[in-house]
Amino acid sequence: MSKKIQNTPGSSKKSIIQRLGGQNVVVLLIVLALLAFFSITSPNFRKYSTILSILDYSYYITLIAIGVTFPLITGGVDLSIGTGLICYSLVGGYLVVYQGWPVWLGMIICVLAGAVIGLLNGILIGIMNLPPFLATLCTMMMTRGLGSISSKGLGIPWPTAGTEGGWFRTIFKLNIGDLKLPLGFLWILLLVALMSFVLNHTKTGRYIIAVGCNKEATRLSGINIKTVYIKAYIISGIFAGLASIAYSAIFASVYPGTGAGFELEGIGGAIIGGVSMTGGVGSITGTLLGVFIICILKTGLPFIGLQANWQQIITGIVLITAVLIDLNRNKKKLIR
């Protein structure tokens, strides 16, 4: 009947990454390799407290990375998540510490603030058609200033562990007697599972991927792409809000003017984990693994005695490598 023409991509060679089982597997292997490396070169690394440190450090980055995966998949980006998370923490923290609001309410404010900025981003990008880089750069600056204003330039110390409001820290770090449990990791895993489901099995996620593949085709299929963009950025905003809670819970105080640079770690983690900058590709588990590489590097490098600036250089190299691999993968697709 029909003559079957072979379904093959232009290049018949499978890339090394594909042969090894896909990007997720490769990233996982790198994570394990890094852990092994640091454990061997620095005996102090092998302690339980180190794992706790790595996890502590990872919560807020993982959360913003999960959130920003969605705008990235649409082919956009959200630069406001870094200064944003500090801003939301300052806003919520100010209300808790200086206005006496209960901590749970402060936490809700954090998430709401994130959602509001996310909505703003979504409107700028989805409805007014501004380039995502530009729009989120603006909200990045806005949140930086906003945070400063809300806290009146002060650093905000959220309630410490022993005090009345300090219970929220136990969401992430639960101490039962002498046993220290990184409870936060459990929530992260749950959120990863949840957002994975949202991305791959709900209309919201499906259309976000679709828009990232081909905006015009999606539009012509009758889908309202404006709402797709808005949803993607609101998700990013909400997760920045969650990240602000995580950051406040782990670290002693939150200071205005900080946070610039977190977004690059979040975005970097997502890209290492397989999200493509051109859109349409990405997985939440991949993002989680990618973030872990960054966290392990950041925690481990000081252990082997490297001074801070070298740490930055190495992290930068890892990121560049990930981006190059991503670009190379897309180049292969174009040759057909």
Binding site: I5, P9, A210, I223
Partner: protein, 497 residues
């Protein structure tokens, strides 16, 4: 054929600077295949976009299934049962076939998308179409032909009452075209009305019932397909008969030197040990089926793709071409088959696109001499009859045929001696085709040499002095124009299957 399902009356639409639709009428019966033809820029696509809710008409009425309708979005039209399969493939590469087909109307299990059901339904669809495609395959991994089949499947799955096909066979092989026609005959039996936009005259006779022709935004007339000749249709389209006979004799002067020699070229699966020569003043036709490796060969010669091995000689000297820059420096120009992706920079204007390949000639100190750019371009706009309000017009706003002319201008401005034309007249109206043929002949008279890759046999027979036939990556044969016939070419093109 059943009763009237669609009547479009007095449709008018103006864009800034262009009166795209001028009081156009069109009607369609149930179970009818109605061809819509016209030069590029005639308004066929625009008319269909008005029908399917992508554009809003300025005036006129559309009566569909007995009711006057006004669609404000593609979704509305889809839900009403009017679907369009676009000329430019619009699919979502990273999603699977099934996910693409049901995008926007997914089967749900509560909040969860029922991917399993979609795969099932897609498989059933392909079975009905007698087409062999795996619904779980990622769209970007399919060949162009298969991707088009998926688009068609998507349209059919909409339970449509009217399906518009916009140049559906452009990227299909002969077999796939037959499959498409079978599907269309099937649809006819189901009383679905089909609007069939095409440039291919031979298809009109085979599959359509009536032909309506548009020219310059206006409706010209309707013919009964089986009672009309090609000339009749062309007459309506351009108002003149331009049909010419195939070339009988090679125009290459005796003893012409070899300007390009390719020896044992290898580049992946699609280019295996290809060798040939091109002589000065010659038009060398490259015939073959889709996937035979003609484009890949051209790209390898041009340095656009890396080659595994092989030698290239220009005017007797061995050259090392590692990138398009090397090729251009050696005087080779390449007009690719997908001009939007590879030929033009759509966001820039005509003048910029034209001078892109040799901007050095237009530099004045450190600045670009815009005046010189514009005047050079204007010359070509005139000689190629490019339909554009000015040289500052953005290329994206031109019709396909005119965009092609802009690409050609780019290489002519560069003064390339060896030109590779890859499907130069695909998606171009008859009038512009004729212009391009004339141009090609003029170019070779001036002493340039052309390799012309084409899937249209009449075109190959009409223009070539010699024909190289490729089949599945290999050169399967060579024919002089004197001995070539459609049958002989087809024989060589399908050898070894």
């Amino acid at each position: 054929m059943g009763d009237l399902i669609l009547t479009m009356k007095g449709i008018d639409k103006t864009f800034p600077g262009v009166h795209a639709l001028d009081n156009v009428d069109f009607e369609l019966y149930r179970g009818e295949v109605h061809a819509l033809m016209g030069e590029n820029g005639a308004g066929k696509s625009t008319l269909m976009k008005v029908l399917t809710g992508i554009y809003k008409k300025d005036s006129g009425t559309i009566t569909y299934d007995g009711n006057v309708v006004e669609f404000t979005s593609p979704r509305e039209a889809q839900q009403a049962g009017i679907v369009i399969v676009h000329q430019e493939l619009n699919f979502l590469g990273h999603l699977t076939v099934a996910q693409n087909i049901f995008i926007g109307r997914e089967y749900m299990k509560g909040k969860k998308i029922d991917d399993a059901r979609m795969i099932e339904e897609a498989a059933k669809l392909f079975q009905r179409m007698h087409v062999n495609i795996d619904p779980t395959e990622k769209m970007s991994n399919l060949t162009v032909g298969k991707q088009q089949m998926c688009e068609i499947a998507k349209a059919i799955s909409h339970d449509a009452k009217i399906i518009v096909f916009d140049e559906p066979t452009a990227a299909l092989t002969e077999t796939e075209v037959e499959e498409l026609f079978d599907i269309i005959r099937d649809l006819k039996k189901k009383d679905i009305g089909i609007i069939y936009i095409t440039h291919r005259m031979d298809e009109v006779k085979v599959i359509t019932d009536r032909v309506s022709v548009m020219r310059d935004g206006a409706y010209v007339g309707t013919l009964i397909s089986k009672d009309s000749t090609k000339n009749d249709i062309i007459n309506l389209m351009v108002g003149r008969v331009i049909y010419e006979d195939p070339k009988t004799k090679s125009m290459v002067p005796e003893g012409a030197p070899v300007v390009l020699k390719v020896e044992n070229l290898n580049a992946g699966r699609f280019v295996q040990n290809v060798s040939f020569e091109l002589r000065k003043g010659e038009i060398l036709g490259f015939a073959g089926l889709m996937g035979s490796g003609r484009t890949e060969t051209a790209r390898a010669i041009f340095g656009a793709d890396p080659k595994d091995s092989g030698d290239i000689y220009i005017n007797g000297n061995k050259v090392d071409i590692k990138s398009p820059k090397d090729a251009v420096n050696n005087g080779i120009g390449y007009l690719s088959e997908d001009r939007k992706r590879y030929g033009i920079v759509v966001q820039r204007d005509v003048a910029e696109n034209s001078t892109m390949a040799c901007l050095d000639n237009f530099i004045n100190g450190i600045f670009i001499d815009k005046k010189k750019e514009d005047s050079e371009t204007a010359k070509y706009v005139e000689s190629l009859a490019i339909k554009t309000p000015s040289v500052d017009q953005l290329v994206v706003d031109l019709s396909g045929g005119n965009q092609q002319k802009v690409v050609l201008t780019k290489w002519l401005v560069r003064n390339c001696d060896i030109l590779i034309f890859d499907e130069p007249t695909r998606g171009i109206d008859v009038g512009a085709k004729s212009d391009i043929y004339k141009l090609m002949n003029e170019l070779v008279k001036e002493g340039k040499s052309i390799i012309m890759i084409s899937s249209e046999l009449p075109e190959v027979l009409r223009m070539s002095d010699r024909i190289v036939v490729m089949c599945e990556g290999r050169k399967s044969g060579e024919l002089s124009i004197e001995e070539a016939t459609q049958e002989k070419i087809m024989h060589l093109a399908t050898m070894g299957n």
